[in-house]
Amino acid sequence: MKADRIFLQILRVAAGASLLVLAAFFIQLFWAALPAFRAAGAGFFTSTDWSPGQQEFGAGAFIYGTLVSSVLALLISVPVSVATALCLTELLPARLAGVISFVVEMLAAIPSVVFGLWGVFVLSPVLRATVQPFLAEKLPWVPLFSGPPLGIGMMSAGVILAIMITPTLTALSREVFLAIPRLQREAALALGATRWEAIRVAVLQSAKGGLWGAIILGWGRALGETMAVTMVIGNRPQVSASLFAPAQTLAAVLANEYAEATDDLHLSALAAVGFTLLLVSTVIHLGAKLWIRRGGKA
């Protein structure tokens, strides 16, 4: 049928276009990044000296900032998310669980810039006024809590990121727990396990593989968060042991410097940062999918 063939052709063009776009994406980014890579060499990833004025472009500080802020976010968010998912699947009555999962989903819909706004005007001041001085006073010998409590900095970024990835991690963990057959819990209870022991033995232990996949996916999302991070992290390309200090991430520096950059090498270096972020994000995402597909076994 002629019309059928035309229809298929149209669809093919549309589909092919998206394939072309993705290819263009990678190619264009790499092309724009090339001059910077050539100029800096491998030092691009290791040097922490980012001074556009002096034509120095080392992205080490951004890589550090991205890693630390995302790991901090995971440390906070994973226990909370797993606990929430367990409550939703094991502990709460159906109606309450429905309401709570609705609330968590709504949290997922809030734009990053609003989190940033809240982070700048509410969270950071609270951290600066209460949490950070408390930590500095009680544990002064820990390098993590050294330096002046500014509020704005790595800790704020970590906390905001944690709040932002919790809905994702909760939803993913919940799916993992729901997949475990009811019979496992009953077997544990029949052995005389307490409620918590039954959860630990029948649910958590079986879910370990799936949970790791969820954590990696959540980590991938945290890496790409831009606006909230750039608003609360201080935008300082430096590496510091202290969580109170300002820092910078790969995504945030792009939002921060791209629009004002005029120097060609600067622009190219920023494109290189973007390419790095693209690579990292893609690898992690594919890795997570592969892990999940193989049932969470190494």
Partner: protein
């Protein structure tokens, strides 16, 4: 051992009623299950026999909205008396489910020992002999003694079910509940489990739900017939099968319905 001790009742129910929300699933069942005998519970689907057995170890009340009333006496003590802890009671009663359900994250050894591990027993010198004894009682020892570290889920269906039996036996319960333990298995595995039950009941009191009447006739000492939430009749197996008191029992056994 005198006949009195031999015929002593291990577990019995007095006027047991069970509800799912407002729906009554069991209407006042009073049944004695004697020591060291295998009592079979038969009846058509939905007659309440699974609900009954889950009331014996207080698993029924774990379903949202479900509750049980009446008395269940384990060695003379009512497990439903106010203030009693279902968790503690379940450690005195073992249960094997219809589908084999070994814990997937554990090895064979760990599966068998899981009841003890939960209770805080860690010492290998204590666990090793218990694991071996349980696996022997479940007629599984010879097949797995060299692969105790392998995951529990690598075994065949029949082996997994025997593993679950060993797991239940490891906590040394006086009573073992079985909810259609062989209905998901092939005939050969079924036969092996029936064999081990005949041996096992000399040491443990067994209460078994089965939809297979021939199975009940083969291995049980007493039989109780359930219909629509009521226990119609109970007695020694040969009597129930050859000379039932109630007409409904006779109709079920001769295949008129169910």
């Amino acid at each position: 051992m005198s006949t009195d001790a031999q015929n002593r009742v291990e577990i019995e129910t007095v006027g047991l009623r069970a509800y799912f929300g407002n729906v009554r699933a069991l209407h006042g069942v009073s049944l004695e299950m004697p020591r060291h005998q295998l009592t079979a519970l038969i009846g058509p689907s939905g007659c309440g026999k699974s609900t009954f057995i889950r009331c014996l170890n207080r698993l029924h009340e774990e379903i949202p909205g479900a509750r049980a009333e009446g008395r269940v006496l384990l060695e003379g003590q009512d497990i439903y008396r106010p203030g009693s802890d279902p968790v503690i009671i379940r450690r005195r009663i073992g249960m094997v489910f219809q589908r084999p359900n070994p814990f997937p994250a554990m090895s064979i050894y760990e599966n068998v020992a899981s009841g003890l591990l939960l209770a805080g027993v860690r010492s290998r010198s204590v666990l090793d002999p218990i694991v071996e004894r349980s696996l022997r009682q479940a007629a599984l020892w010879d097949e797995v003694k060299d692969q105790l570290r392998k995951p529990g889920t690598r075994l065949s269906g029949g082996q997994q079910q025997r593993l679950c039996i060993a797991r239940a036996l490891a906590i040394d319960p006086p009573v073992l509940l079985m909810d259609e333990p062989t209905s998901a298995l092939d005939p050969i595995s079924t036969a092996r489990i029936e064999e081990l039950l005949v041996e096992l009941k000399k040491a443990v009191t067994v209460v078994m739900v089965t939809h297979n009447m021939q199975q009940a006739a083969r291995i049980s000492d007493r039989t109780a017939f359930f219909l629509m939430g009521e226990m119609v009749e109970s007695g020694p197996t040969d009597v129930v099968f050859t000379n039932p008191r109630d007409q409904k029992t006779e109709q079920y056994i001769t295949g008129r319905f169910g």
